[in-house]
Amino acid sequence: MSKPLKQIHLGAHFPGVNNTTVWSDPRAGSHIDFASFVHFARTAERAKFDLVFLAEGLRLREQHGRIHDLDVVGRPDTFTVLAALAAVTERVGLAGTINSTFNEPYEVARQFASLDHLSEGRAAWNVVTSWDAFTGENFRRGGYLPREQRYERARAFLETAHELFDSWHGDEIAADKQTGTFLRTPDAGRFAHHDAHFAISGRFNVPRGPQGRPVILQAGDSDEGREFAASSADAIFSRHPGLAEGQAFYRDVKGRLARHGRRRDDLKILPAATFVLGDTDADAEERARVVSRQQFGDRTTIAFLERVWNRDLSDHDPDGPLPTVDPTPDGTPLSQGRADRLAAEQALRTATQWRELADAQGLSSRELLIAVHGRHSFVGSPSTVARAINDLVQNDAADGVILAPHITPTGIDEFADTVVPLLQERGVFRTEYTGTTLRDHLDLPPAPRRTPPAQHAQPVPSPL
């Protein structure tokens, strides 16, 4: 008997503030106007996607100590956009990145619980951490968090948020006009949490939402990140859309679940993926070349090199060979506010690898960067792309993909119109939503209500 077909999960990532979002294309619209978000979310919902996804940024990127001006800059507030989108969509999940470093668990838990009510069970939280003083300069807290504590704080933050979500059981509100009983118990929402990061107590003032708690997404690829996801997340937003790499990641992360008392299907693996479609594979390849070229303009190419070399390369020819000088990784970072800062710390090694690759294949600086940073996950005709995504899922390299198009806001329209019907024909993607909540779409078990750890439940013994 053959293995039953796995169902694919699809997310749509609203184009972000980086060079992959092509703003110079005549089709490129506003990344701020609400109409763009409405178009994007409604397209995703029309195509029966599981979710739409918004990223977050809390400080504008800088290069040479000045605001980086080559990429799309600026975005609206995640919670506010998602709440407004809940009014213009009915089923599609609403996922947002919220940083656990520059927020407090009570406030974030309250916002996500509110969003879950206001969307009737469609909220998802992509938990990320940040540690840098650069971002911290916009907040009361500043940049105090040592980097090695980021997952520790994130774990404590998420644990605290879970305690808040679980502080209501879901049956407390009677709202009985006749007897005058609004709450069945005076204790609804009571909590107390004390650890190295948070010492808070009181009553959470949002009743349990339709999903129990929002779906938890986690992005991150380090060993700590994988372990964090295996213990606490419902889905992992990974970076391995290729088959072999994806399978290795999938095996590793799914293998960690049992240790945390979870089943294999309790965590969905959803790599970020890009795509370029064409009428034929050859058309798509040609379009992909054009898109890559738009993504790596002259100054953007130089900016990428400067991030690794950490020195001024403004006179460098992007169509010539890589710089012959060595990187200067020490000193003030020339580039700030990017998630790929770690690469600069391994600058010498990276530069050597790039030179070897460029020499072996005869690549210019621009071509090298496109080969390293600008490759599209899926390129081809709709049937080629549908087959590739399905292969990824059926061969356990992923449970689905989160697609990041390069055009705002119409970038997923073509995918929705051409690839999705092919996946539906193959019987690997829904033709109608079968549930109402995001948890339903992702085929996740109901959120268990956690009982707080014993030390929290019991009174603290008095020393007297």
Binding site: W23, S24, I32, D33, F34, V38, G57, L58, R59, L60, I67, D69, L70, V72, V73, G74, R75, P76, D77, F79, T80, V81, A83, A84, A86, A87, V88, N103, E104, Y106, E107, R110, Q111, A113, S114, L115, H117, L118, E137, N138, F139, R140, G142, I173, A175, K177, G180, T181, F182, L183, P186, A188, G189, F198, I200, S201, G202, R203, N205, V206
Partner: protein, 404 residues
Amino acid sequence: MTENPAPPTHLHLAVALTDAGWHPAAWREPDARPDELFTAGYWADLVREAEHGLLDFVTIEDSLGTQSDHHRLPDDRTDRVRGRLDAVLIAARVSPLTTRVGLVPTAVVSHTEPFHLSKAIATLDYVSSGRAGVRVQLSSRPHEIALFGRRTPADVDLADFDSPAVQAYVAEGFAETADYVEVLRRLWDSWEDDAEIRDAATGRFIDRDKLHYINFRGRWFDVKGPSITPRPPQGQPPVTALVHAPVGHGLLARNADIGYITPHTTDEARATVDAVRALAAAEGYGGRPPHIFGDLVVFLDDTADRARARRDRLDTVAGTAYTSDTQIFTGTPAQLADLLQDRHRAGLSGFRLRPATLPHDLTAITRGLVPELQRRGVFRTAYTARTLRGHLGLPRPANRYAAA
């Protein structure tokens, strides 16, 4: 630029939405929907009703802690509405379902980050096409401080409000709020309106010379900026604040676009308006003085007797006579119109009416009071503007960072 400012004879009207209404027994009224307080549909219906009445805006009450009958402490009552959703998210959720009415959520400033609130309200302004405002609220309640664990409750007895220690403590709270509002406004201005250039020739998406570090350094915050969200449609969404005592008048005079006050008589209203305006003038407040709205709790019915009987009945159900920080009006829409006109002449530019029960007193405002005021020629008969600033006759502010 002002869109068709209201004639000076016109007064402004807002409603303050909270739970099932302001009376603690409101949720037990026959038309109340207490089992829907945590649904979007409940709030959408109320805000649409306010828009049907052509009101300037709605405010949405909020608190980080659970509601309580006690002013400063939590209680264990089970016969009152407890729990509430985040007001900014409610406002965002209803904004696509409305087109004209202003949306002014309450935001607690004592435990939150101005950077986050700035982008949230800017975004509310984008999703509502220029209808956002915010009501900034202090919270010094010990049980709310404990939800964040970052501050120590003050060692003062607030019951002794006039003592120098309490006055100093409260003044400090207003000073922090003033700094918070300053950070909000600077962040809204941190992008010039035309910063996005999409210049394909030079490969530049923005003109970075039109983005500005705000470099705010104060006692409570250091915020670098710029915002991650471009300047909102209104430039700066109106900032509003409720103040009960003279210690807060400076916040209204210097930092607010609308101040809510809680007079119990017309003379008191006039005195407070004069005091705030004098303060604004004395300190050289640059722009126009703020709007000052009077807050009133309202029980409205066809006859005064019926309104009073309803209030008595609700008090009986609640087990206690309802009291408020502000005047409680009980009567007919026509009687309320008399009072509002009287106070309007005394200097109040508008009113924030707190419906005692929802939806009853809200629909009495939109379908009773509003037509009465229209008949008297003191309220709009159609929206003449599309933005909240437009409704209020407030110009779009110049950007402080833009070169003249």
